[in-house]
Symmetry: C2
Subunit: 619 residues, 2 copies
């Protein structure tokens, strides 16, 4: 009955297996289901089914995102230390490129806060803001990071992003938020200050305190307070007057535009430009120019490391947003193709006079909530920004820098996450350490060293743990076939059989440990005649691990002790069979720990040993 | 009965536990059993029991090692591009320092081939051989590496040596052997050639081919052939004439001394010095000078990376020898204290005009076979070398460089391992890749890049595997409580319960994978109502893994699917209990997969589903 049922079940599973297999393949971003061409050009997939309704939805979303993106792109260009117009340039062709190569239906690409800050620190290291070289460096950064992203994608190296753990990312984002907000204070106060690290910034602000421009403050502080209120207070208010929460949310996102209009009016009314309030000033009208990134190897030599960091950070931020949104609609993104999409976007940015871009969080959420259905929405947004570049720029002449600074401050402070540190401290000191180090180094030594330090600490702690894995002496839970840790459960053991459960794959990182551990445990138990290594948790044995097993086997043989394996996983056993280890093994390989223990406990015990006799009796 | 037996067994284990615990602690090299002072000064341990018999054994070993070490130290100094006498200096104080701080009873410290080669390439990068600065650089390398080793030891960072996997080490040693042998050919041929990489060396040799000195060849080639015969043919011959294998082995190790004497005689008889055969020449008589390493930060800045590599390579080579020998006598070494011992040895070397040293393989084996019982043997060897430095150096005036080169070539070619590549290829392509890359890069780009590349490739492959771990859909083996992979075994499953066995710890490296994998599998099975994550192989869940579990839990809840965990390990559960995850879990945590499957399969199945009904019936 059960046997037949088993076959039933087995057939059943077999039927659904190919699917599962394909799904797993797909997860790895290889999309075997679809043709190679449409794998690299996702537009061929969603393009086929494009129709009127989708068009309308995409258009609506595009208009809303455009309205939000105009002040944002100007502000982030400012944050990157670039002329505001560069922000517009970075918001046109990159969106089109991503629409062609990207796999997320709703990701909104363009300038983002953290990447802008990293661009500022990287370009600032090779040239002074406002110089030709500074702009050239920014463009070159976009080109380098575009090529790097595309290459990583083609090499299927998306997994490298895993090196950034959640604690490191959240620490980095929080610290960047603080850095960015601080860096913008100077625009609110109308003082001049520089610096890539927090102490530098604070110092410069303090020293500039006596040069504060009251008119700038009069614009900046109210603008900031207004935007905070828009973010926190406006939505509930709108809901009360009857708007749907979603509509209210989107309307609230338009707050910056209102601030922009109001402050422009204020500037014109009170002629604040003449009173020392910094204005955006003349923005060259027209479409993006055709730019060429630098081919100066010396410059590239100084920019490739920051470019790599910008690429990875940008990719991680973008892919997490894309995954979150895709999940909500049960859609899927292909991480490796995302690398190609973002790479194309950055190359496009470089050749149209822009700077590094990636998928932005706030922007993508708005795009999603506004009902965008395909990447085409991004292309339509690009058209909107292009029109703005053609016709709106004169209106922005009188826009105070302070307003843009206010929009940045309000946007980034929401990135600062105060809950995580406590949670991490309670759950895992190691993760807390990585989180904490990332925050501190980012604030004190800048964004680049911050990321590097975070990755390094995370990896070091991981390797440290991997080099001293968990293992347990196990005994049998009475009247069951289960074996549990002798230190945690009341279990049955016999003195001449030592059962060790290895709770880790045997790799070169812990090979030395394995040798030491097993030999120690045996040395401490003179009565032992048989050692069983329970391998239920051993998922892999690499060459170093195998060498250690062979060494242990020889040492046991010398001491007249049998070495046995139990519960070896299928894939692991397949590989062991390709070596001489199993033949040379001074013992047996058992399918189940229970069978191994029963057979070995019943014989070979020292004569007259009460427990062994009892074992012989009861088993 | 069994319950009582279980308590028996449990008490029994409990009794032996403290020991086991202590042993485990000791393994980590922290030596809680002994006092802190004698932990850092192992001499206080073996010193107490020192007596006459031990003294005799140590003295005998010391004399044999001294005889072997004199030509070796001269030769390795030559290999390092230093005056021969520096090799003697490096074989005196360092041995004394290690005798005080080292934990291996039989390790013989001094100049070794690979480290000498690395010294040559590091010092050669900052100065030309024969210059003051070159010598200063070598001394500074010893000082830097000494400090680094000691600091790593005090910080208990011995685990960092695990980054060098067996395949990388053996690849590096083989490639170094080839490089070293090639680098010595010029002394055998009497031509002048330079170069740190294989192509360079071969090129220089080829171009110097017409300047070959026949007399040098007449000395070098026979010397090489003689030493090869000593290594391969002499021992069997001696055994035939009745020597014990051990004695024969030791006698054979004295071969180089014979070659030294014979060639000196030949040089004097035929006045080869005048015929262009390079001789060792005048060696300053006397004890090592007091030297001071450079404090020039610019020089240190250029030397610290090679110094770190020399430290790690030296440590790995030394510790593996020490462990092998300790194991043979059931002794134990403490890796972290070994770092301190080797650090002290290198600092001592620096301050006595020497260069980087470590535990040598051949030398230590001789020391062991000759019956050395304590590190004191090393101190006696130091005295022997000191005496040689005082009185023998004049006799070495006429020693041909070619003889020293011959000893090096014969010694290092035995390091070249031709079997490993094939074995690795068969067992693990990943390990083979690391091995192969290490060999190629070492030969083509030098030793430093070789090590770095090997570590990088090994780590990259490890991280890649860690980012896409193994997991399996499991079903129950009929009439048992065991669950196995549905693709490998005939097992029983029901369509509304999906059991997934996660075969890896959940860390930040695979957190993203976990989310994708589980959601995919569920998406492909519309009938699923319950998902059981079988965690028998999950040894740790870090913060990133936890976040992914929470994300999965929310997604399941949205879809009205229950998420359950089974066979969660004790330590893992303890930590999960410190979070809200278990409370928010949209399902239960079961101790055994069997119980979970029985309970969930029996209820919640779609009505009228034959297999579910059958399940209800049979379970």
């Amino acid at each position: 009955m059960a046997g037949q049922a088993a076959r039933e079940g087995c057939r059943l599973m077999a039927a659904s297996d190919p699917d599962a297999g394909a799904a797993r393949v797909d997860t790895a971003g290889q999309g075997r289901r679809t043709g190679l061409l449409s794998q690299y050009l996702p537009i061929l997939q969603w393009g086929r089914t494009y129709n009127g309704t989708v068009l309308t939805n995409d258009l609506v979303a595009a208009i809303i995102v455009t309205i939000m993106l105009i002040p944002q792109s100007l502000a982030y260009a400012l944050l990157a230390g670039l002329p505001p117009v560069v922000g517009l340039y970075a918001s046109i062709l990159p969106l089109v490129a991503y629409a062609v190569f990207g796999t997320s239906r709703t990701l909104a690409v363009g300038p983002v806060a953290v990447v802008s800050l990293m661009t500022a620190s990287a370009a600032g290291a090779v040239a002074a803001q406002g110089t030709e070289l500074y702009l050239e460096a920014a463009i070159t950064l976009a080109a380098l990071s575009g090529v790097m992203l595309a290459v990583l994608g083609l090499l299927r190296m998306g997994f490298l992003a895993n090196l950034l753990s959640h604690p490191v990312i959240s620490g980095f984002i929080s610290a960047s938020g603080i850095l960015i907000a601080t860096s913008q204070l100077k625009h609110i106060l109308g003082v001049s200050a520089r610096g890539d690290t927090w102490p530098e910034m604070l110092g410069e602000l303090a020293s500039g305190i006596d040069t504060i421009n009251p008119w700038t403050v009069a614009v900046g502080v109210p603008a900031t307070l207004f935007l905070f209120w828009v973010r926190k207070g406006l939505k509930p208010a709108l809901v009360q007057v009857g708007l749907s929460p979603r509509a209210a949310d989107i309307a609230a996102k338009a707050g910056p535009v209102v601030a922009v209009i109001l402050t422009i009016v204020a500037v014109i009314m009170f002629d604040l430009g003449a009173r020392g309030v910094n204005l955006v000033g003349a923005i060259p009208q027209g479409l993006p120019p055709f730019a060429v990134p630098s081919t100066d190897l010396e410059l590239i030599g100084r920019l490739w490391v920051p470019a790599l960091l910008i690429s990875i950070i940008g990719f991680v931020e973008s892919v997490s947003v894309a995954q979150t949104l895709a999940a909500k609609r049960r859609q899927r993104i292909a991480p490796n193709q995302e690398l190609i999409g973002l790479g194309a976007a950055n190359v496009a940015s470089a050749f149209s006079g822009g700077y590094p871009v990636t998928g932005g969080f706030a922007r993508s959420v708005v795009n999603f909530d506004a009902g965008a259905e395909t990447p085409a929405a991004g292309a339509y947004t690009a058209v909107g920004i292009a029109l703005a570049g053609l016709f709106l720029t004169p209106l922005l002449f009188s826009l105070p820098i302070a307003t843009l600074a206010a929009t940045i401050i309000v946007a980034v402070l929401s990135l600062v996450d105060l809950k995580t540190p406590g949670q991490l401290w309670r759950y895992s000191k190691a993760d807390f350490a990585a989180h904490f180090v990332t925050i501190v180094i980012t604030l004190l030594a800048g964004v680049e060293l911050g990321v590097i330090a975070g990755v390094a600490v995370g990896l070091l702690l991981y390797l440290w743990r991997a080099s001293r894995p968990h293992a347990a002496i196990v005994g049998r839970v009475p009247e069951t076939e289960h074996f549990r840790n002798v230190e945690r459960h009341k279990v049955f053991t016999v003195p001449h059989v030592l059962s060790i459960r290895i709770d880790e794959s045997l790799t070169y990182l812990n090979a030395r440990w394995l040798e030491e551990y097993v030999l120690e445990e045996v040395a401490d138990r003179p009565a032992v005649r048989h050692v069983i290594l329970m391998c239920s948790a051993v998922n892999e044995i690499d060459a170093s691990g195998l060498e250690s097993l062979e060494a242990i086997n020889h040492r046991m043989a010398d001491g007249g002790i049998g070495l046995h394996l139990s519960e070896v996983k299928g894939p692991v056993m397949d590989r062991l069979k390709r070596t001489h280890f199993v033949d040379e093994l001074n013992g047996k390989v058992f399918m189940s720990q229970n069978r191994a223990f029963r057979e070995l406990a019943a014989n070979g015990g020292p004569p007259g040993d009460p427990i062994a006799d009892m074992a012989r009796g009861m088993i």
